[in-house]
Amino acid sequence: MKNVNRTGRSRRLDHAIGLTLGIAYVAVLLATASDIGFARDEGFYFRASRDYQKWFDVLGEDSSKALDEKVVGKHWNYNHEHPALMKIAFGFSDRILHKKLDLMSPSTALRFPAMLAAGLCLYLLFLWGSFAFGRAEGLFAAMAFALMPRVFYHAHLCCFDVAMTAVWLLVFYLYWRSLASWKFGLAAGVAFGFALCVKLNAFFLPVVLGLHFIVVYVRWRRAGGKTLGPAPKPWAFIYGLIFGPLIFMAHWPWVWFSTFKRIGLYMGFHSRHPFYNTAYFGENIVDAPTPISYPFMMTLFTVPTVIIVLFAAGSLLRARNHFPRRLEQVVERFWQARGPLLAQGHDLLLFIGVLFPIALIALPGVPVFGGTKHWMPAMPFLALLAGVAAVRLMDVVSGVFVRIPAKVTGGVVLMALLVAPLQQTVTSHPFGLASYVPMMGGARGAASCGMLRQFWGYTTAGVIPWLNRNVKKGGGVWFHDTAIPSVSMFREEGMIRRDIRNQLKLKSAHYALVHHELHMIRNESWIWNLWKTITPEHVLTYQGVPIVSVYKKPAATPRRKAK
């Protein structure tokens, strides 16, 4: 905890560097956004965001009318299984940045708030890393997080997962600082309120942080209470209790009426969430019990191996401070308070940050269809611990090359460590969900192992140029797993020819897409049976692995003339 006492200009510089990192990442996301097709869920959020904006139109014209139960129901009923904050942000971004200022295309404007959330992650990571350990650690953590291929993919989307990761990290960080300061407690309480407005995961925050607080507090008491120093402050929980429900209720007009029933509906949707299909080592996981190993193995298979190795090394380096000399002292050592207040329990907080989201998904009753995105809040903490090891390695190398200035060797080591993640992220684009680490053979190795290649039908973007070239005027295409609003966005963006129709019935289509997932072979069999062909006209591949196949309806055989 070498930088806790840093103040003034030094802190401002930290903020400036963090902001620069965040802004640079957002710039990269903006520059690459148009390559990524529109995912299934994005389509629903596009529609919801614009629906909600219509309510704001009513509010601007006649506020009393906007508060009418029927009007609220009309505009806010769609997609009420998720809170509204991000959809409101998406909608305003579309309204201002696209419709009013024409600075961005509609889809980029709708996605922009999620990109900002990704930038916030980098800013916070740098801030936390540099505050707790040093700037080099913070820098490496931020870069390592940014260069996880799956994170990079999700950071583009008009969805909630990266935003959830950002607010999760924010609440953790503010909670940690709040142990010594009521101001941070107030900020943590407010941040918790916003976290509740992003996604359901936020409900776990008081539980996780509450357990952490109990440990820190008990350690302090056992160490002699005030003789050790000031007690850890519970301000984050007090303010969270006040601001959490207030902000949650205020942000979502849908719960202003029939409040308990509607909150029950919102919660109930997730407690009874169906198990969508996902593939894991050739098995189609579609029901409980889900494999406990799933999130652990998928983390190994999708996070660049060098980051995983550094995370393991960083964890050992941090945990080493807590190891007792004798095994029987483990429990006693765990409950010992050492060092300044903020140092107490900091490592534990990082370990909880990594383990909790992963362990939650590992529970056999929890659906795993979301792949890695559902435990993405663990990734910043994983990156922070990797940063600790990266800097240790820098020190080791500097110790070997003593004649070269330490900053030079450190910089070279840091860049060298990020080469592999950078290469994997660049080559994964725009097929983020199909990317697997080279140690398992990349997408080819993963396909041979029977792992999931994609979900959400977002890869349609890759075959649109082919469709534009080959579909006859007015031809119908069956877009398979790409949702209707997502196809509409391709049209609105001008990516797909306007005359190409979205044909919802395979029977009436001239071309059909198949997004390759293990269970989707059933949909492909419809094409084989109906069109009597097993040969696609075009196959979009990533690293040679089929991602989307396009079938063409065979020309009808001329019927014999009736006698």
Binding site: L310, R392, M439, G442, I521, V539
Partner: protein, 271 residues
Amino acid sequence: MTQEGNLNRIHWLWLLVPAIVAAEVFLQWRIPSSDPSKEEWEKAAQIVIDQKQDGDLVLIAPSWATQGRIYLKPVIALQDFGRFETSTYDRIIEVSLDGERALETEGLALESEQDIGKITVRRYRTGGSAKILFDFLGETRSMKTGGKKFRGNVIIIDHWFNPRLVVPFKPKKRPTSKTYKNVPLNGVIHGYAVIGYREGRFNKGGPIKLEIFVDDKKVGEQLINNFGPLEPFDIPINREGTGTVKFQVTSDSNFKRRFGLAADMRVGAPE
């Protein structure tokens, strides 16, 4: 061992990190280069087309490389694609990427092997194919369906996500059947019955009872369950002359589901 000595040894472990970086970069660079080019596919396909004879099965390993079907279109028939087993084939021609082997070729005698860039074409001889006297999948024109129009064989996806070409049935409480006339009877009725993956998933497929009649006399019966293993049925008939074979299906419910069977009358030991 001094503390300093320990540290030095531990420091050597850090060398693992650059080694991992180097390995990752190299492998990541190498992965896309294992993808065959269009020219390689076309060349390999031409070799397969030249080699292919009646009674040969052409398959792609790994099975996920579906883009190969574009190039091998003339030699992969629907019936081969939806096969249940390989016992009816004399030879197997395997188009292999990344050196992969298809499960069906394990233990077979390799006849020839040819590398075309990143593709390997291998030809195997099977242990001798069964002699098919009558294929119930192929002889659907002689089939009677109780007055309803037969719309053709279909591919059903089984519980293990394999495509299976079958004569479709709609199991109901009352029996539904398909009858074939003039079937040579001097062999064994060998076949498979399969429930669609989705119906099995929702536990709404089985049990389905399949009964087989020869000249109106019941010769065999099989109960097909949702998650039951895919096992063939073998019913020895071994009679001279021809006769009528009827497959009859019943179920406890009228739930609409995918179900079908593939069978033949054969001489020779099934796999």
